[in-house]
Symmetry: none
Subunit: 226 residues, 2 copies
Amino acid sequence: MEPLLVFPDPVPPELAQSLDLAGYPWKAVADEAGLVAAEPEDGWSGAIVVAAHDLDGAFAVCRALRKRDLPLEPLLLLISGAQVADLELRDDLFDDFCLYPFQPREFEARMKHLFWRTGRGTRPELIEYGDLRLNLETYQAAIAGKPLDLTYMEYELLKFLASHPGKVFTRETLLSRVWGYEYYGGARTVDVHVRRLRAKLGEEHANLIQTVRSVGYRFGQSRWGL
Amino acid sequence: MEPLLVFPDPVPPELAQSLDLAGYPWKAVADEAGLVAAEPEDGWSGAIVVAAHDLDGAFAVCRALRKRDLPLEPLLLLISGAQVADLELRDDLFDDFCLYPFQPREFEARMKHLFWRTGRGTRPELIEYGDLRLNLETYQAAIAGKPLDLTYMEYELLKFLASHPGKVFTRETLLSRVWGYEYYGGARTVDVHVRRLRAKLGEEHANLIQTVRSVGYRFGQSRWGL
DNA sequence: GCGAGTGTGAACGCTATGTGAACCGCTTCG
DNA sequence: CGAAGCGGTTCACATAGCGTTCACACTCGC
């Protein structure tokens, strides 16, 4: 596991202790300049920024971390109770915060939840939508409990569509995202795969993949929430 | 704003007070059966589940909320310090947690951050004007909650008009901006599409698109009032 | 009341999509 | 080594949905 970035340097001893006890590798950074200098080859796996002693410096570090091409996640902010009000309008600078000084149990639970949450974004192991279920680990699909016998491309296409329910994708987008970025091929290929998917989904569920004329295809119903 | 779901019923008084002070509308629910019974027409805007007094009941509610077609978000869990360990392996049941009893400032900050996060992460790009709502991601439109079945050109035209409310466009402008810059066609095409749009909007909302004689069309009310 | 501008219904023709089948490369098995 | 099977791609054709156009009725302003 890549190390966590921790600000400031030196790190408060109780934080260092909690991190070590929980088994997180970490590296302290004193200021913005250190972000680049101390960065491991494979990047940071997350960041913990202690704002309790230096609010402005902490926010500066957060900003620097979030401005990168790939904003660093997750980012946990440790602040004193009196600083809670300063979070206002700075929601974009952190993923979660924890009152400082902290209870080790709460700190550890927040770390776990944060990693779980951001990890889920990159590697979900199960996709479910209505009766449909895709097991990404075993490459199996099932609808209403009945297993679907999908080919590789069919599975990949369905996986991509089902992981963005409601959103419409053009054939070109699907070709580049599902087939590959430099794919040379006719857009009708998508049609054929959609047709086979619909056939395998069965008459009852064929409408899971909807045609949006002149645009492309959409999986499932739109989300009108919020 | 739609109300928050709060479990259990009765709600602890300090929680009720904090919610009221922060201006969140809310509705208490006593058990899983109440989730459906008490649900507002437009759904919940989020949930707060107090686990401090009834851990199992709280998790049951969380599970029920997350199993729905559209898992309810955001979901804030309130737990006692002794229960933190019980969060283990239940990361999927909540979005954030707060130690209970809580400091109102921390509670409020978590609520704000949660709403900011879910709003930003999952909110589709929308165009809204009065009862009209256009979802740009899903190519769907709805008026007063009822979905509109629009064709591609109708959708594009409405999208363009609705994104410049109050402004008058000539047919030529519309042809070049909606149809395309090199479009060579009769101006009456616009009329026909406007007519169909009005018909689909329904008698009640047909006046959303107004005719400005000798000039063109305008969406919504003029900025000078009417 | 006249004319320009706009609403309306219907008809036409095009284009995007559905559909069946052929093709082609790859793997498997005899 | 060749045949067969499988899966992905492409092609040709059918078709319905949709955009455009036109003719005519109507309305508004002068």
